[in-house]
């Protein structure tokens, strides 16, 4: 088996060109999936027998929460690869993830609180799930703040990577918080080992939205990755060809 593909993924010019080529292949399907999921979730899915139309918040809340965790995991993995093998491109991936993950963590918290008010009678509660998700936001912000505070990019990469890797312990805590502790928050209905507990007409739009958001993340990540690669390249000759004046 040949590992040349792996080595090429460590090469900035190769990844820069690949990212530019791949972006539309993620962006367009993401847009179509999200549009279809919106129609399915807001129009086709029937109202819930307990929550009425209020349950439709699930179609933006669950995908945002999924993004907050999946993007963090991606960031921590990339940071670990960057630390262990000293791969610049891996650090660039990790740095690209943070603002995306932070913004979707905000979306998860806000949409959750808008769902909590009518269903639980409160916008906020210092509950295990809500608190650990808030800690995730602070981890993202701490990671970005640490990077912004270190002038030298290589040092910023290594220091922030350590923080990202250490902080990954929070990811299983968030996921299992609803089973480990008494929580207001419901248990997972899709991200579980057994069959999802949602009816098909409600489940399909949610799955489309989850996939759409994931592809959207890939598209935005690829655009940001190009910017991060450029920031790490001093005056390499490949830049001259990649950036026609």
């Amino acid at each position: 088996m040949s590992f040349t593909w792996f080595h090429r993924l460590g090469s900035p010019p190769y990844v820069y060109a690949l990212a530019a080529r791949l972006t539309p292949w993620f962006a367009w399907p993401a847009g179509l999936l999200i549009a279809a999921a919106l129609y399915g979730g807001l129009v086709l899915a029937p109202p819930d027998y307990q929550q009425g139309d209020g349950f439709r918040i699930i179609y933006v809340h669950a995908p945002s929460a999924w993004m907050s965790l999946m993007v963090y995991t991606t960031m921590a993995l990339a940071a670990a690869v960057g630390l262990i093998w000293r791969i610049k491109v891996a650090h660039a991936v990790a740095a690209s993830c943070a603002p995306i993950g932070a913004s979707f963590t905000v979306a998860a918290l806000v949409t959750g609180s808008l769902w909590g008010q009518p269903m639980w009678g409160t916008y906020w509660q210092w509950d295990p799930r809500l608190t650990s998700e808030l800690v995730l936001l602070f981890l993202y912000l701490g990671y970005m703040g640490l990077r912004a505070g270190i002038e030298d990019l290589q040092r910023a990469d290594r220091a922030s990577a350590v923080l990202a890797v250490v902080g990954v312990v929070n990811v299983p805590i968030i996921h299992y918080s609803v089973t480990w502790w008494n929580s207001l928050h419901q248990a997972p209905s899709v991200m579980r080992l057994a069959k999802p507990t949602l009816a098909t007409s409600m489940l399909v739009p949610l799955l489309l939205m989850l996939l759409g958001f994931t592809l959207f993340f890939a598209a935005v990540l690829l655009v940001r990755l190009r910017a991060e690669i450029l920031a790490r390249e001093r005056a390499s000759s490949w830049l001259r060809e990649a950036l026609p004046a």
Partner: protein
Amino acid sequence: MSEFLDMGGYAAFVWPAYAVTFAVIALNVWWARRRLAAEEQRARQRLAARSESP
């Protein structure tokens, strides 16, 4: 249509939730593009500065 907008009485919660999420989506597109344009500009300037002073 007004029945749809009313969201069974949950309009005040459902629509802001959708608005916030799609604002985050739009911001992500805008931020990423702006960041890439800025880094392209800076990289071009570095290249230009290098070719002027050998």
